[in-house]
Symmetry: C2
Subunit: 344 residues, 2 copies
């Protein structure tokens, strides 16, 4: 473990590369007095963007390569050992950084992080977790795409990891966990889901039972657990609906001169609406379950969005999320061995 | 097959029972000169609502029982042989109606319809299909909940059924079909999805490849195919997002006196927006793949929404959707036997 709060930023990946990553990371640095920043990438690219001399608490770690956005995970691991992504993850492994952030390709980052860092004890597979806006503030949701097929064990581990994220990042005491299903009756869903449901009922977490897709937003639960296929589809569906509603609104508010005037009069409300639903404010998905903090920024993130991802890294590093997950998982495993069989 | 256009309406089921079903069905009857309506249920309940004498082209078919909204499918089949739901489906089986509509419980309706009507040749399992608003008009999506686990064969059959619905109900010539996945690369997704992808590439339908959740709304495809678990979650997620955005809008537009004035000025646009996204206008999910037209209305449908479901039944009855599905499925099966293995 490192002494201070040190974040390694892969400053070369993502659609906009260093042009976005460097200023975004420096924004967070300026606002976070105890943060030390390691910008990872080609010094000749990063130095002009970071300023000379470099800001206080900021240094550059050289990495000569960049993992392409379409590069296969295994190729990234085998052939790009000096990529900005790999070097950023290596810094976490070596204890020279407390967390890392990358806007690089998801598959490569996940595979690299798992290969380099390994897993938190008790967790079999990493999951991608993020928060979405909901009636009561935020709902933490996982898995968002790392594991298309999930066993009951995986789902239970996701419940543990989601609980820790909800508490550590959103301050929820005893977060209520829902398991995504297509009906609230015990008979629906796959075998894996029914088994996870039965076992979660006996686990020392605040399990609230089955939920459906609309409960992601209802505020009834703080954490929604599902497999990576369903979670990814749900996440993309949300983005699609929100974008579609936005485009219909733009059409309706520009349909005539009178409608445009109405739009002007409504613009404070519309701006507030946009702000509350702004996906940039929710950028920064955690790859949880690893023996280290790894945050994935959206590849197309702008400066504000990338900064949001860096802030997630800061928050998880401060709380020591991987250790918290290991501790809660140990309690859940212990309870499994001693608990009587629940009635569901 | 029946000579005319005769729709059997289960007039007792749903949250509001006959109070909604009867006036809604009569609304469609009044607007559809060649329609004959069979209201199925208890005459003493239906007659006062339908008027005395009954409107022209409307008759009542007695059924003494009602399937409960939480009743198990097998109990509905075994013990409620004189339910309004069962009798409505029986009328289709006997050729005394061309289609039936029910707002009763989904599981019971699906099981009853499958038990009584059987399947269209070439289709193994019924699927629930509906249209959702999208950039280009509508996207037809299935399965929305009938089959949590799907084989490649099921997915291919869904593609056929979705194509027929898109053409027959929305007038799309050679509808473009997408297979829902979590990435557009061939390597992602489950084995079943990859196999369906490979085989759809060689089928005589307009297959457009993998799509992601946001493509449901993008207008890139006319039909989105997925398993019933994922489809149901995506549908409920859409409903949840739309409701959440609506509630945030109401909050923002009532936050202050000035905001309320802005809301008034914007109300023509907001009303138009609401109209375009109104879920009532999209009520009426088809249970396709059966040897007969069966339309499921939302249990909580109001008069306008239930009428929309009856109109879907009218449209599918006119087009003879089950026969169209059988014919396209036969062409797809024939091509499978003769086509060379595609490269995907």
């Amino acid at each position: 473990m490192t002494a201070g709060l040190i974040i390694a930023v892969d400053a070369m990946s993502g659609d906009h590369g260093a042009d976005v990553a460097v200023p975004a990371a420096l924004d967070v640095l300026a606002a976070t007095p105890d943060l030390q920043l390691l910008l990872v990438g080609r010094g000749d690219v990063l130095r002009p963007l970071a300023g000379m001399p470099l800001p206080a608490r900021c240094s550059i770690v050289e990495a000569s390569e960049v993992v392409g956005m379409d590069e296969r995970p295994r190729d990234a691991i085998r052939r790009k050992k000096d990529s900005s992504m790999r070097v950023a993850v290596d810094l976490v492994k070596k204890g020279e950084a407390t967390a890392c952030v990358s806007a690089g390709n998801t598959g490569a980052l996940l595979a690299t992080a798992r290969f380099v860092l390994g897993m938190t004890p008790g967790i079999d597979r990493p999951a991608i977790v993020s928060a979405v806006p909901a009636a009561h503030g935020h709902t933490v949701m996982l898995d968002l795409g790392a594991n298309p097929d999930c066993s009951a064990d995986n789902l239970i581990q996701f419940a543990v990891m989601g609980s820790v994220i909800s508490t550590d990042l959103y301050g929820i005491d005893r977060p209520r966990v829902g398991l995504l299903n297509i009906g609230e009756e015990d008979i629906k869903g796959t075998d894996e889901i029914r088994e996870a449901h039965r076992r979660l009922g006996a686990a020392p977490i605040n399990y609230g039972g089955f939920v459906e897709g609309d409960d992601i937003f209802s505020g009834d639960v703080d954490v929604v657990v599902t497999d990576g296929f369903t979670g990814n589809v749900a996440l993309k569906t949300m983005e699609g609906v929100a974008r579609f509603i936005g485009s219909v609104m733009r059409e309706e508010f520009t349909r005539s001169a009178l409608r445009k005037i109405g739009g002007l009069a409504a613009s404070p409300s519309l701006k507030a609406l946009k702000g509350r639903l702004d996906p940039n404010a929710y950028n920064g998905a955690s790859m949880v379950g690893l023996a280290g903090v790894v945050i994935k920024s959206h590849g197309g993130a702008n400066r504000a969005a990338f900064a949001s991802a860096v802030r997630v890294a800061v928050a998880e590093a401060r709380k020591g999320v991987p250790d918290q997950i290991g501790e809660l998982m140990a309690r859940v495993s212990a309870s499994k061995d001693s608990a009587p069989s629940p009635s569901g």
